[in-house]
């Protein structure tokens, strides 16, 4: 498995990907909000697709390319999605934000100019209790401008 471009190995295939990332690799950007696929706080990219890392066991994806929120920023600064979230006040407590960033990145890779319905569909699995979502939509819209 590759995580954020680096080859990694694991010892217990039955470990949840979320625990592997957080406990073994100390990548705590992915958060646990429910542990059952309902909140999206644990979202990471597995071969480019956003998945809930609380629902995946490492043994199921032993050859996959995993990208976490920590792997998105470039050497020269924040990923445009991250910068837009900062600029548009689209994060309050921030606990949902890593998952939102990852889901949005996946959406934009697929659809560089998503319409509102597509944005909503892409984020429907990422619960946010603070922002009311509109600021997140504004951040995404601002990227197309």
């Amino acid at each position: 498995m590759n995580v954020n471009g680096q080859k990694v190995s694991f010892h217990s295939p039955a470990q949840r990907l979320l625990d592997y990332l957080r406990d073994s690799l100390e990548l705590t950007g992915a958060k646990e909000g429910c542990g059952m696929g309902e909140c999206g706080a644990c979202t990471v990219l597995v071969d480019g697709e956003p998945v809930c890392s609380c629902l995946v066991l490492v043994g199921q994806i032993s050859n996959a390319d995993v990208v976490t929120v920590e792997g998105l920023a470039g050497a020269d600064g924040l990923h445009p999605v991250q910068q837009a979230i900062v600029d548009c006040h689209a994060s309050q407590c921030g606990f949902c934000t890593p998952g939102v960033v990852v889901s949005t990145t996946a959406l934009l890779a697929r659809r560089p100019q998503p319409d509102e319905t597509e944005v909503r569909e892409a984020l429907v699995g990422n619960l946010c209790r603070c922002t009311g979502y509109q600021a997140i939509f504004r951040a995404i819209t601002s990227l197309g401008e």
Binding site: L78, C93, E121, N126
Partner: protein
């Protein structure tokens, strides 16, 4: 979205600007370490053992097997708690149950293990023998003499009554009287971070990293339970993944302290979503009987409110919630006669606690619904009735009689919404309804006090250090509980000191460093904490003047001179001003009723579509006008407003924490539904200006009041669409469908 932004006063540079949230750059990269992300060397993992009955007696607790589980390091029970007592207002809760079980999920033991799995295995090995008792699950039943008592003094936790004028006489002479009972549900906060933290005991000192809105309370609760000096307890309370009232009380910091002391190692406990759902505090459900009388001109002549509040098993903040509800029972309206009677009852249901709005949403729903019904019976426009009755500065508060202060902009806030196209053009919009979707528009208004209220000793502190090179650090509270309040503190300080915003370092959420400042609650953080920051800055400026420096200040020089004289550290306290214009209020009532001097207001217009066949409600738009004094950070005001509206939509339409005989039925996010990105209507925030003289640069607190009108505005819109009176929340499709069927028969 359009947002009228406030023009900052000319002399300021940062107040009034939407500067980005502090730490946002490390939030978006996932680098910010939340307290549940923390690890310490040699750290153990803790697990809480809980009961699975809501009412009963713990007869035996068998822990030997658990102690023998490999990896288990400690098992603690009530016998290990030096002073087994807890409760911010009324100490009526054990830290660990030793006899009576009063809530499903009450904690009976703590286990620490070398791994999470070991701690869980240890917890599973604990055997409990419990004599179950029938749950007291209806607060009205709980108040009957025949009900089993959950506490020594019986089940009436508190009764609060007050009357101004003569309500019975007023209602007898009214042209219309609306007489109805309204029910509101239990609402769960669903902070995205369920909660947790780390405890450490070293050299006789405890350090507890646990998200809380009220670190000073955690500190004193830990000290009381462990019978130690509060000075020996340090609470570090941020960063935190949301709170909304939920992380303000409870035994959690004590659990960490007990385990850390017993094992002499750091211990982390991360709560699961299921645990928080089952035992975390909730928004209190209210049963409210309202009688509202109006004269023929649409003036309110009297209001009688009788509320029964389900406090759950322990007092928590219920007494304060009841008191805030009483004050808000008359809404943002003026009337000559009003009466309130509220009773909070102990039950074996979910534990009622703080939740954004603090009892006020439960009052606004009955009152606003009743005003709408009265308007229909008088064949008048609901907005016009509100306009005729809205409170103005100088009016007496309708229930308490004290004088409403000059910064209250209820009338302007109402007008901002009445002039909004969604309200103005509601008839045309309704006509364009198609298919099974009927359209309707509703309006609702609210007020809420800023701060704890008079005679509550509401105070916040700030410590400011200028170092030898002139740099500034400020330690201030209340702490960040999901909004990075330090952003606004830095804006206030930057303008007060006339220095660049980026040069001001602000630290919050640490009892060792921040002077006691009370809670990040009661719409007081910016109003009170910002006030303390401003005062500290003003003190620094006057010291700088006193050592002979004039404008423009040479900050290097200032740092050196103040340092040399031992004047580099400023510590100030800012006390909330109490009501000064008592008006009709008797002075003796002030310490009983805690009236506020400063109120914010908010008014919403909601447009909804209701499916005539299914009862499904879709919210299409909500515009909120908010009376915030001055918006220190307009994007922050918009963010608080939009987030609150979504929580209000949840309260109005979907969120319903269900219990059956005290046993939770909605146990996870699979069954407890909150609004998602798919549920967001068009939102608009209209900022209504007008400074408050006692707030920093004119600011008032708003993060609660903006939630209050959402539910009644939506239910008013439902009524406009399909003609039904929604008398209970949430207005689920089943409820609305049933009400529509009722209309037919």
């Amino acid at each position: 979205m359009t947002t009228e932004s406030v023009e900052a006063p000319a002399r300021t540079r940062y107040v009034g600007r939407s500067v980005p949230t502090r730490d946002a750059d490390v939030v978006v990269t996932g680098e910010l370490e939340y307290l549940t992300d923390m690890t310490l060397p040699n750290m153990l993992h803790g697990k809480i053992v809980r009961t699975n009955v809501p009412h009963g007696r713990l007869l035996e607790l068998e822990t030997e097997a658990a102690r023998r589980v490999p990896g288990v390091v400690a098992v603690l029970t009530a016998a290990d708690v030096p002073n087994n007592i807890l409760g911010a207002i009324v100490p009526d809760q054990p830290v660990l149950v030793d006899g009576l079980i009063r809530q499903f999920g009450d904690a009976v033991a703590l286990v620490a293990g070398t791994t999470v799995a070991a701690a869980e295995a240890g917890a599973a090995a604990i055997q409990m023998k419990v004599e179950t008792m029938p749950a007291v699950s209806d607060p009205r039943e709980a108040l009957r003499a025949s009900a089993p008592s959950l506490h020594d003094g019986g089940n009436l936790l508190l009764e609060l009554t007050h009357e101004r004028g003569d309500v019975d006489q007023a209602l007898a002479g009214a042209a219309v009287v609306v007489d109805r009972t309204f029910l509101t549900q239990v609402q769960e906060h669903v902070c995205l971070e369920p909660g947790g933290g780390v405890g450490q005991y070293k050299n006789g000192q405890f350090t507890i990293w646990a998200g809380t809105q009220l670190p000073g309370n955690s500190q004193s609760e830990v000290a009381r339970a462990l019978m130690i000096d509060p000075e020996d307890v340090r609470i570090i309370s941020t960063p935190i993944g949301g709170s909304f009232g939920s992380k303000a009380e409870g035994p959690f910091p004590i659990f960490l302290a007990l385990l850390a002391k017993a094992t002499d190692r750091p211990v982390r406990i991360v709560l699961t979503r299921e645990e928080v759902m089952a035992v975390g505090v909730k928004r209190h459900p209210f049963r409210v009987h309202t009688r509202l009388g109006l004269d023929r001109d649409g003036r309110i002549v009297g209001l009688d409110t009788d509320a029964i509040v389900d406090a759950g098993p322990y007092a928590g903040f219920s007494p304060a919630v009841l008191s805030i509800a009483a004050e808000a029972s008359t809404g943002p309206y003026s009337m000559p006669n009003a009466r309130f009677r509220g009773r909070a009852a102990y039950t074996n249901n979910s534990n009622g606690g703080a939740f954004r709005g603090y009892g006020v949403p439960q009052m606004a729903f009955p009152l606003e619904s009743s005003i709408l019904e009265a308007a229909e019976r008088l064949e008048m426009d609901a907005a016009e009735i509100k306009r005729r009755n809205i409170l103005h500065p100088g009016d007496p508060h309708a229930l308490y009689g004290h004088t409403i202060g000059p910064s209250f902009r209820g009338a302007e806030t109402l007008d901002a919404v009445i002039d909004h196209p969604w309200w103005r053009d509601r008839a045309a919009w309704k006509e364009q309804a198609t298919g099974p979707w009927e359209r309707g528009t509703g309006i609702a208004a609210a007020l809420k006090g800023c701060g704890y209220g008079s005679a509550k000793g509401d105070r916040a502190g700030a410590r400011l250090q200028i170092s030898i090179d002139g740099s500034i650090t400020i330690w201030a509270g209340p702490n960040h509980s999901g909004q990075f309040i330090e952003t606004a503190y830095a804006q206030v300080a930057a303008d007060a000191l006339r220095r660049p915003y980026d040069e001001i370092l602000v630290v919050v959420g640490d009892t060792e460093l921040v002077p006691e400042s009370g809670s990040c609650a009661a719409s007081r953080s910016l109003y009170m904490g910002g006030g303390a920051v401003l005062k500290a800055c003003e003190e620094l400026i006057s010291r700088i003047r006193a050592v002979g420096l004039a404008d423009p200040i040479d900050w290097n020089e200032a740092g050196e001179r103040l340092g040399a004289k031992g004047l580099a550290l400023v510590e100030v306290y800012h006390d909330a001003p109490d009501v000064t214009e008592l008006g009709e209020m008797h002075p003796d009532d002030v310490p009983r009723l805690h009236p506020h001097r400063v109120y914010s207001s908010a008014v919403h217009v909601a447009r909804v579509e209701v499916n005539r066949f299914t009862g499904q409600v879709e919210v299409r738009g909500i515009a909120c006008a908010v009376d915030c004094g001055i918006a220190v950070n307009p994007a922050g005001v918009v963010g608080q407003t939009e987030g609150a509206i979504l929580q209000g939509i949840g309260l109005a339409l979907m969120e319903d924490f269900k219990l059956e005989a005290g046993v939770p039925q909605t146990t996870s996010l699979e069954t407890y539904l909150i609004p998602t990105a798919g549920d967001v209507p068009e939102l608009e925030t209209i900022i209504v200006e007008g400074g408050e003289e006692t707030g920093p640069f004119g600011a008032k607190g708003i993060a609660e009041v903006v939630l209050v009108p959402t539910a009644p505005a939506i239910t008013a819109a439902i009524r406009d669409a399909v003609g039904v009176v929604v008398d209970r929340l949430p207005a689920t499709p089943e409820t609305v469908y049933r009400l529509m069927e009722g209309l037919k028969s």
